[in-house]
Subunit: 308 residues, 2 copies
């Protein structure tokens, strides 16, 4: 059972999809990452910051999953990061209606002493300087540092992003962002270029079209499970990353073949996340359901090759 | 070694991509289907129509691959179907600059006697009445009838399309067309609806995002091989269909598991087709290259599932 350190937002989300809308509910990258990772046998901790307007019961939902919240700062009188978004009919694109950074604007992450030797560090999407600060506080080089980011930081903090990328092992990024970061349209070429920037592994997320894992000349593709209904895509990418990192922290094996398995585990968990609003599905997810769907993933992509 | 009957266009294509342009070269759905199927141990025939402006050497390229051209009518003084198109920079979309039906406007397909008992019939994209006429001429119900179509026929000949669809076993269609045909955004729901229209199997092509095979509650996903460079996508869908149908005609096994393999074989051949203009890559494709890339497909999508 390895140690997994997660840094990212714990937030209020308000979501509107073609199927309905929510008031402020629990969201944030670290929340989804932590819930996904809690499906595995790991010792995990979240570093984040919230205001005291965040209901204590939300934090209890996380600590009930055995996630260490020592590094989660609650600012007295502070307001929690708030995101409000509306998805278009195809659920593949969305408009951000509100982004209030609030306490996140002054976030200074502190790694708890007993996680300074974490096996896996999962750096959720945040300012690259915050991600770098977490890496710098580690007293033992983690077996694996995974970083998620987005186009916003490429537009606004590219030098800082390029600096932190030098120090990581796995970059998770979507297809458009991989193209933006490298100027290469071909994802094969984009991944190769990213590998020269630092990461040994590149995971390119393609949403409903699955995910690709690149390492040198090797490539692995994990499909997304075709679903009858996608209800709310919020958190799917973070759930994917959390499943990926959680599985690797549990198995403590960072071979390419095990990274393949980790990608499948992440895809599997993400397929649940989108079935309900926010964290609802992940909070009540049973091991039997997870295992059943893993078998569907095998059916979905395994075949008997026949050479001619 | 099964018999494969192919109906479709043999045509002139003129293609422009970001990487270059061609004058009129050999193209057409039946051409690509036939070349792909010729990679397998099959007895195949093409039914089509051309004008005598089509160089005899083009037809020789096909007959050299042991494709029976008895059913390919050459109209004296007639002009061959001509398509000219220009691909956008991302190669995912294109503008049609010229479409001249020419002799295709009066195409009346005649199935050669010795193919009226074909094991597999591959109906390339054409007017649904032409596709229906071929089915009606079969004296023995084929083991498998595969039909490819496009949005043009949904817009202009929907009743005829729905009629022929009743009589087939496999529909191959792209994701947008599946949505148009059924009014369902979810591909799972779209495929289920199409199965109520006649076909037992539905293959949904997603281009660079791979292909899905549906049958009742089963689903299989074949990735597209991530390529460094896509040079010219023309014919990729037909090559996919030809590999699919050709493999099934060779193996004469239409179980779901073997259809999975057929989808992989089709995806594999399509990955070659896009590497050069038109038919160039397919005409010179070696068995060793095909086998080598099949192994890459295995690496690309096979994993060791671990239940928790």
């Amino acid at each position: 059972m390895g140690k997994l350190l997660i840094v990212g937002t714990v937030a209020f989300d308000a979501i509107e999809t073609p199927f309905g809308k929510t008031d402020k509910i629990l969201g944030g990258a670290a929340t989804f990452i932590g819930l996904a990772a809690s499906q595995f046998n790991v010792n995990s901790a979240i570093i984040s910051i919230v205001g005291d307007d965040l209901p204590k019961e939300y934090l209890k939902l996380l600590s009930d999953k055995n996630i260490d919240l020592t590094g989660l700062e609650v600012v007295k009188g502070g307001k929690t990061f708030y995101w409000k978004g509306k998805y278009h009919n195809d659920l593949n694109s969305r408009d951000t209606l509100v982004t209030e950074l609030n306490v996140l604007a002054d976030f200074n992450p502190i790694v708890p002493d007993n996680f300074k030797d974490a096996d896996v560090v999962m750096l959720g999407n945040l300012h690259p300087n915050i991600q770098m600060s977490v890496i710098n506080q580690m007293t033992v080089r983690p077996k694996l540092i995974v970083l998620d980011t987005m186009n916003f930081w490429m537009d606004n903090s590219l030098p800082e992003l390029l600096e932190v990328i030098k120090h990581i092992d796995v970059l998770t990024i979507n297809d458009e962002e991989a193209r933006q970061l490298t100027g290469e349209y071909s994802l094969v070429k984009a991944a190769a270029k990213i590998e020269t920037m630092g990461p040994k592994y590149v995971v390119i997320k393609k949403g409903e079209h699955g995910a690709l894992l690149f390492h040198k000349s090797k490539v692995f593709f994990a499909p997304a499970l075709p679903l009858e209904e996608v209800f709310d895509p919020t958190g799917a990418g973070d759930t994917f990353a959390g499943g990926f990192a959680g599985y690797l922290a549990q198995t403590e094996n960072i071979s390419f073949n095990n990274l393949k398995n980790a990608i499948i585990q992440g895809s599997n968990l993400a397929s649940f996340c989108v079935e309900k609003f926010g964290t609802e599905r992940m909070l009540n997810l049973k091991k039997e359901e997870v295992n059943k769907r893993l078998l569907q993933f095998r059916e979905l992509s395994q075949f008997d090759i026949e050479l001619q």
